[in-house]
């Protein structure tokens, strides 16, 4: 379970270009929920997602993952949370382009605190789950958008995180591929993982259990 309590995010605090992107956002997402985050461009969706993914810090409020307060932790601890609890799927896939699919999927295993045995097997399993095991050895710069998105998802799930965060996972894909990707998220959700998807697409949002709408840094609908 994750809990956001009056989260305030200020970009460039105490500088001329100071900008408050989130003005006290509170929300609670239970384990196994599938949640869509929607809102206009610039509303603060990505900002919220980055805080949830422990990529970004926040200036006010509290953020709990499973009752751990995520604030002012050591860099090592943050890295460990990102590695173990969170699977992040970025809008632009965020793959190391000249690594092969399987090498990309193995990145989180390589950063794991405890040495992972059979990294290859685990990575292959994750690729199989997204239907990409045949292209495991192909360098990512030779994959199509949909294939890249699958590899990104495989990488997000390989370490068996409890929460999968996706920023516009279908933004760059055609309708058919989008549907397939959403199917994947549904499967993951059915297997008990929390899934949080930032999206513009009302179709995508409708497929989720719950919709959180953000406007200008406030939650307007939950």
């Amino acid at each position: 379970m994750v809990k956001l309590n009056e989260i305030v995010k200020i970009y460039n605090p105490k500088k001329a270009n100071e900008f408050e992107a989130l003005h006290g956002v509170s929300a609670e997402i239970k384990d196994g929920e599938m949640v869509a985050v929607i809102g206009k461009s610039g509303a603060g969706k990505s900002t919220l997602l980055h805080i949830l993914a422990c990529i970004d810090s926040y200036e006010g409020g509290e953020y709990y993952i499973d009752d751990t307060l995520v604030k002012k932790l050591s860099e090592k601890k943050y890295a460990q949370i990102r590695n173990e609890k969170i699977g992040m799927v970025m809008q632009d896939f965020a793959l190391v382009e000249d690594f092969s699919a399987i090498e990309n999927v193995m990145i989180p295993l390589n950063f794991a605190k405890n040495k992972v045995k059979d990294k290859k097997t685990k990575a292959l399993e994750a690729l199989k789950a997204v239907g990409m095991e045949e292209l495991a050895k192909k360098p990512c710069n030779k994959l199509s958008g949909g294939q890249k998105q699958r590899v990104a998802i495989a990488r997000a799930i390989v370490n068996n995180p409890s929460m999968i965060l996706a920023d516009e996972p279908t933004g760059a894909l055609d309708t058919k591929t989008s549907a397939e990707i959403m199917e994947l998220f549904h499967e993951l959700n059915e297997r008990g993982r929390t899934v949080i998807i930032v999206t513009h697409d009302p179709n995508v949002a409708e497929q989720c259990d719950r919709i959180i709408e953000i406007s200008d840094g406030y939650i307007v609908d939950n």
Partner: protein
């Protein structure tokens, strides 16, 4: 993981890395040359360091005035020249002996003889090809030891030949065992084969350095190989020897009658140069050498550093996106700076190999016959120091760039 990424990164920028490797190799090679040439120079100086610290003169026997060279039979005590007063001791000189075939026949092994003792045996060792230097062999009865230079006689280490030597009374036939082979061109005290330097030093110039007392000995140029004997062994058999090259003539310890000693010296020598002068010349020569070579190294080093700094700056910028990805997946931001370290470490390792290879190749081709390039502890330490500086420099830009950037900025800038 980080290691793998680093190695990937190396091959991604192969061209530039090769450029850096060549630069580092050049720096390494110059360092090795500098260090070994300086230590070589010091080697000549060190052979006489104790002597040159004291009072005394370097001088040649006065041949013209007396129309003779100085045979030991005439002077008797050629370590102290006591005929000329009680002023000198432990004279350092090269002596020649007369060696013939058995029963005075023509010598089947014509040779240029060098008989050394004292510091010339114990504090200096020419570059050897194989075998041992005279200081490393134990004396054996009825046998002389010799270290020789390359020859056409087919003589090699371990061979024993018969030679007859003139003694004060008659002559003596002895076995001579070849215990060591010098490299062709090894430097010998008092050699003259290609020695323009020492002859121009003459009596007036005062540029003489310790190194100039030595000359390269090339068997072919000299027309015959060098045979180096241990004077102490020769003396056991009362073999006569003559002294005709420059000598280092130290004054007795605590000598007070300096001017009398100088007058005495004038009776049998020419072109006396005080030790203090030689010491000064030698040290200033070494200093000059160090300054020239250091400036070359610094120049090359600067170039290398500039290219490494710009290279790492560019490549870090290019890699920031990938670092962002590693960060999302649980990497720590600082770990990413380490990737650059690996790339440079690979560069350094390859440069070291290349350096050894180039030096070895130059040796094989024979480019280094005249010089003594050695890869000893000193050279390795200097290269290690250079490597550490390069590593530190290579980490500056990544640390600055990565330190100034937040992972989120990189991740966002790609959205």
């Amino acid at each position: 993981m980080i290691l793998k990424y680093g190695i990937r990164d190396f091959s991604r920028n192969l061209g530039f890395n090769i450029f850096v490797i060549i630069q580092i190799t050049l720096v390494f090679i110059t360092c090795v040359f500098t260090s070994s040439s300086v230590s070589q120079n010091l080697k000549y100086y060190n052979a006489f360091a104790d002597i040159l610290d004291g009072e005394g003169y370097c001088a040649s026997p006065y041949i013209n005035k007396l129309h003779r060279i100085i045979p030991s039979t005439e002077i008797k005590d050629n370590k102290r020249f006591s005929d000329y007063g009680d002023y000198f001791e432990n004279v350092v000189a090269v002596h020649q002996i007369i060696a013939t075939g058995e029963n005075g026949s023509e010598n089947p092994y014509p040779q240029k003889t060098f008989a050394y003792d004292g510091c010339l045996i114990y504090d200096y060792k020419p570059i050897m090809d194989n075998g041992e230097w005279l200081s490393d062999v134990k004396s054996e009865s009825n046998l002389l030891h010799a270290v020789i230079s390359p020859n056409h006689y087919g003589l090699k280490v371990g061979d024993i030949i018969k030679q007859e030597f003139s003694t004060s009374q008659d002559s003596i036939c002895l076995d001579v065992k070849i215990v060591g082979m010098m490299k062709d061109g090894a430097k010998l005290f008092g050699a003259t084969s290609d020695n323009d330097k020492i002859s121009t030093v003459g009596g007036t110039t005062n540029k003489l350095t310790a190194e100039m007392l030595f000359s390269n000995y090339y068997s072919d140029i000299a027309g015959k190989p060098a045979f180096v004997y241990n004077l102490d062994e020769l003396e056991q058999y009362e073999i006569s020897y003559i002294t005709e090259q420059k000598m280092l003539i130290p004054f007795r310890d605590n000598l007070t009658e300096i001017s009398q000693a100088e007058e005495a010296l004038d009776n049998f020598t020419i072109g006396a140069i005080p030790f203090s002068q030689i010491k000064k010349n030698t040290l200033s020569e070494i200093r000059k050498q160090i300054i020239i070579l250091i400036s070359i190294i610094v120049g090359l080093f600067m170039l290398t550093i500039v290219s490494i700094i710009s290279f790492t700056a560019i490549s870090t910028h290019k890699k920031l996106k990938d670092y962002g990805i590693l960060y999302i997946c649980g990497g720590r931001w600082k770990q990413c700076a380490f990737i650059n370290f690996i790339v440079i470490a690979v560069d350094l390792i390859l440069s070291s190999f290349l350096t050894c290879f180039v030096i070895q190749a130059m040796k094989l081709i024979g480019l280094l016959n005249n010089t003594v390039v050695m890869f000893t502890l000193n050279e390795s330490l200097i290269c290690l120091g250079v490597s550490i500086i390069i590593i530190l420099v290579s980490l500056i830009m990544p640390i600055i760039i990565i330190g100034k950037t937040q992972p989120r900025e990189i991740i966002k800038s790609n959205e």
